[in-house]
Structures are given as C-alpha cells and as structure tokens.
Amino acid sequence: MAEDLYQAQLLAHHKSPMGFELKADFTHIAEGENGACGDEIFVNAKLSQSDLEVLGFEGESCAICRASASIMCQLTSGKARKEVLEILQTSLNYLTIDNAHNASSVHTELKVLSTVHAYPIRLQCARLPWTTLAKLMENWH
C-alpha cells in the first residue's frame, strides 16, 4: 500500500527536508539527473580540506529523492572527509536491489528508506542524491 512506501518518517523528510535550498558560501556543486523519470538534483557543499562543513541541495525531484537527499544532508553535514566517504559507500551499497537485508552497518536514519526496496524501480530515485554527492567528492582535493 502507499503508506508502506510513503511512511510517516519518509514523508516528514519530504515535507521538511534538511538542507533544501540552503544558502551558504558553498565551494562545490554537482548535478544529478534521472533522465527516465525527470528527477533533477543539485548538491551544494562547503568543503574544507578535511571536513564537509555544510551540505545542501535543490532541484525538482520526487518525494523519495527529496527524502533521501534530506537524510544525506543530515548524516554527512559537519563530518570529516573519511567519515563522509564511509557513509556514502554504505548508503550506496544499501540502496541496491540485492541489499535490502544488509542493514547492519547502515545508519538508523537511512533505514527510513528501507521501504523503497519493495519498489525496485524507485531505488534509482533514492540513490540519486548519493551518486551526485559521489560526483561532487571527486573534485574534493
């Protein structure tokens, strides 16, 4: 049922997303798009040499993508580079078709997206913010 996918915590992230249209003196930006569904996201980051100081996002995207981006901002803002990379890798691994049950090392907040596994076609929506962050981090020198 819809309430399985759009459960209360996910909807909370969708309706009041963390980092959405946040204004800051960002240093890096990356764009991500799902051509098939029309999701579009811009991930903005203020990076120092060692830390991801501030993370925000904007763009037109579905509730799953927006909630996932909100969770991403919540989990990674203010974290050291090494920790951001670990969270990124764990999250991308979790948000794949085969890894619905592999949640042991996943942050509790990310498990809000656990219901998306029952709708494999929506996994690409949940992954988009994270793949965009990965793209951004390629330029983190």
């Binding site: 819809a2 759009y6 569904c37 029309g38 037109e60 995207s61 509730a63 799953i64 709708y119």
Partner: protein, 410 residues
C-alpha cells in the same frame, strides 16, 4: 456513475486469477489482448505454423497465404492503393527507422532539411535527428499551437525547396489532440516533400484513409490496437518505394546473391528480411476483425464518452495543472484522446506510485517526448489513457486516488 464496458469480459486479464481489480489507464502505452486474439495466435502457432515464403510444401504455402491475406486486409484497412504498399515491421519504431534508412537517406544532401513537430515521440524524432547530424543538415522543429496541435502555418513557412521530409504524428501521445495531418501532407506532396505520419495513437482513435490523407508513409503498432506485441505496419506509397534499398539484410529479400553483389526483389518483401512473425500477424488480423465486428462507430462512441467524462472530472480538480501554458479548463475544447497533467507540488512519479498502490495504472515521466516537455518547462507529467474495457468507475477511482495522492504528499 456505474457503467461497465460491454467488452470487458472479452479480456482474460480481468479474470479472477489474473488482474480482476486493476484499473488500467495506460492504454496509450499498450493495450490488453482479447481472448479471441490470443486464441487465434495459439491456434496458428500450434496447428498451422511453418515458415512463410520459403518452403515448397503445403504447410508453408498456407503460412504464406496467411501473411499475404493479412497484407491485403491491412491494405483495405488503411485504404492503400495496393497490398504492395503494406510492409510488416516489428513495430512503429522499426518502421520509422526503416523509412529513415531506406527511403529518406538516399535523398539527403548537405543543404537538405527535415521538418519534425515539437510534440513527436522519440521514435519519430531520433531517426531524423540522427540523419540530419550525419549529413550536417538542419532539423527544423515545427511548433505547436496554444491548443496543442501542430501549427500548420508555421509548418508551411518552414517548408522550402530543400525540405526532404515532414515527420508528424496523427494523434499526440501526450496532448491527445488530433493533428491536421491531411492539410500538412497534401501541402508537402504538392511541393515534392515526403511525409511520414506516426499513427501509433491515431489508428486507435481515428479512421485512417492514407489516400485521403495524402501521406507517403503511415505506421502503427498492433499492441496499441488490442493486438500482440512484435508486429507493426508501415504503409509506403508505391512512388516512394522506387529504387529504395532494404535496411535489414538477410533471407527472403533477394533474387540472386553472388560473392560480389546481391540483386533484391521488388515489393514489400524486400523490406521484410528474415522470418515473418506470422503468429503476431495472425493476432493483428484477429484484433482488427474483432474491432470491426464491434464496429468502429460503437467503439469510438464509447471511448469518446469516457474521455469526455475524464476530461470533465479532471477539470473539477483544483490541484490539477494541464500541460499547455494557458492552463484553462478544457470544457469548451475538443475532447482529448489522452490526458496528461501534473499535480501541484507533487512529482509525477509519486502520483504514479500512490495510484499503483490503489491498483490504478497510469504513466508518469516524459512519455518519450523530452523536446515537448522541455518546451513546456516540465520534467515529467502523469498520463491517463482510456481503453475499450474501461468504465466510468475507473475514472471515479482515478479521481479519488489523485485527491488522496495530493493530500498525502502536500
């Protein structure tokens, strides 16, 4: 209002062990199969199958007869001059690619241009874009009017002595409008310009008379017309076929093959290399027979009433936005044959997901019309399209679910 389709019981997918409760509103994408079509295909495949146009034995000759009788039937169906103008393809996409490579490419030159409407499905856009890119030519986009139809005058203004082809759709798979194809094709013909009509949606909703339309090519797919997947029809006017070489090369298309060269046969078989998908051809014939038995008049009358009801129902929803910029209620406008819209502040994907959870199937995305969506400033939309098995109940369910979706996500 409750009114069940008189033909719903003909479709086995609604059986109790399959999808008895599905509210299927994605008929513009593909349609369900009546049992008679499936039975006809099964009967052919089990009891009559052989390779057509190859064997010298009676079973093969019978299969050949089945294919050629189908060709004649399709010729009458489209009012072509001759069955030799009917080419079987795997579908509309393949048909348009065939036209691009076999009929249009030989005419291309550096100064050539091709006209394609802004609202075309990618199947009737990408082949022309690729051809123009290959030759360094201009692809000219014909705009749409405020009502969503192809702008006829703009189309005429874009035609010149170097225009090789006009590519348009009979009915838009997103905007649901019937385009003025006769006016455009006849003007093109007078100026020596080829015209191709994507009839994938048109053949479902309109009577098609290719002689009256005056097009050089018209194509459609069986699976949008309550027939099987894997078969489509290309009408290619005889004059356009002259000297054309096949796109797909293989068996059944040659007079003689030597190490150095091949001589091709004449006629539609030249463009049908390989084995025919005869079971699917049988299915297409049965689908047309089934619909003609019902009569097109009854069918169009029924679906027209449903489209009208759906259009009015959507008009009443304050959170619905139509795709065209003027965004006015459609109550005084011609009934659309396909209904595309967005919900205020709700992504189309979410709409489709929530509707799916209530067993309602609609399409969400760009519907393979990215240039159109870009021109309208949209990333995606929701599309609902009626079929002959739908009912007023289905529309009522859709409206309730849309209301629920909007409430859940805002």
């Amino acid at each position: 209002m409750s009114y069940t389709s008189p033909w719903k019981q003909d479709f086995p997918i609604f059986s109790s062990h399959a999808q008895p409760f599905i509210c299927y509103l994605d008929n513009a994408a593909t349609t369900f199969l009546p049992k008679s079509v499936a039975d006809a295909m099964y009967h052919y495949q089990c009891y009559q199958h052989a390779n057509s146009h190859r064997g010298l034995y009676r079973l093969s000759a019978k299969a050949t007869q089945i294919v050629e009788d189908a060709r004649s039937l399709l010729s009458s169906f489209l009012n072509a001059s001759s069955s030799q103008e009917i080419i079987f393809t795997p579908g509309t996409t393949e048909a348009i690619n065939l036209v691009a490579h076999s009929f249009v490419k030989p005419l291309m030159h550096k100064q050539a241009n091709i006209l394609v409407s802004l609202a075309e499905h990618h199947a009737n856009f990408l082949p022309w874009q690729a051809l123009c890119a290959e030759y360094g030519c201009e692809l000219r986009l014909v705009p749409i009017t405020a009502e969503g139809n192809i702008d006829v005058q703009a189309c005429f203004d874009l035609m010149d002595e170097n225009t090789v082809l006009v590519a348009i759709s009979h009915v838009s798979n997103v905007l649901g409008v019937v385009n003025p194809i006769k006016e455009i094709c006849q003007k093109a013909s007078k100026q020596g310009i080829l015209s191709i009509v994507d009839g994938a949606q048109g053949v479902v909703h309109c009577e098609v008379d290719v002689l009256d339309i005056g097009c050089d090519f018209y194509t459609f797919s069986a699976h949008k017309l309550y027939g099987p997947t894997g078969i489509g029809v290309l009408y290619a006017k005889h004059s356009a076929q002259t000297d054309a070489l096949p796109f797909l090369l293989g068996g059944g298309i040659v007079q003689k093959v030597t190490k150095e060269k091949s001589e091709f046969i004449d006629g539609p078989l030249k463009f049908e290399a390989g084995s025919h998908h005869t079971a699917a051809i049988v299915g297409l014939v049965e689908a047309i027979d089934y619909l003609e038995y019902i009569t097109w008049r009854k069918l169009h009358l029924y679906t027209s009433k449903l489209n009208d009801y759906l259009q009015h129902a959507l008009d009443e929803l304050p959170f619905i936005d139509y795709l065209l910029p003027n965004n006015e209620k459609t109550i005084d406008k011609p009934t659309r044959l396909v209904h595309s819209f967005t919900l205020k502040n709700v992504h189309s994907h979410d709409v489709a997901s929530i509707l799916d959870s209530e067993n309602i199937a609609v399409r969400a995305g760009h519907h393979c019309t990215q240039p159109l969506h870009q021109a309208l400033g949209l990333k995606s939309s929701v599309r609902a399209s009626i079929g002959m098995y739908n009912s007023y109940d289905d529309i009522d369910k859709l409206v309730n679910a849309l209301t629920n979706a909007h409430k859940t996500l805002t």
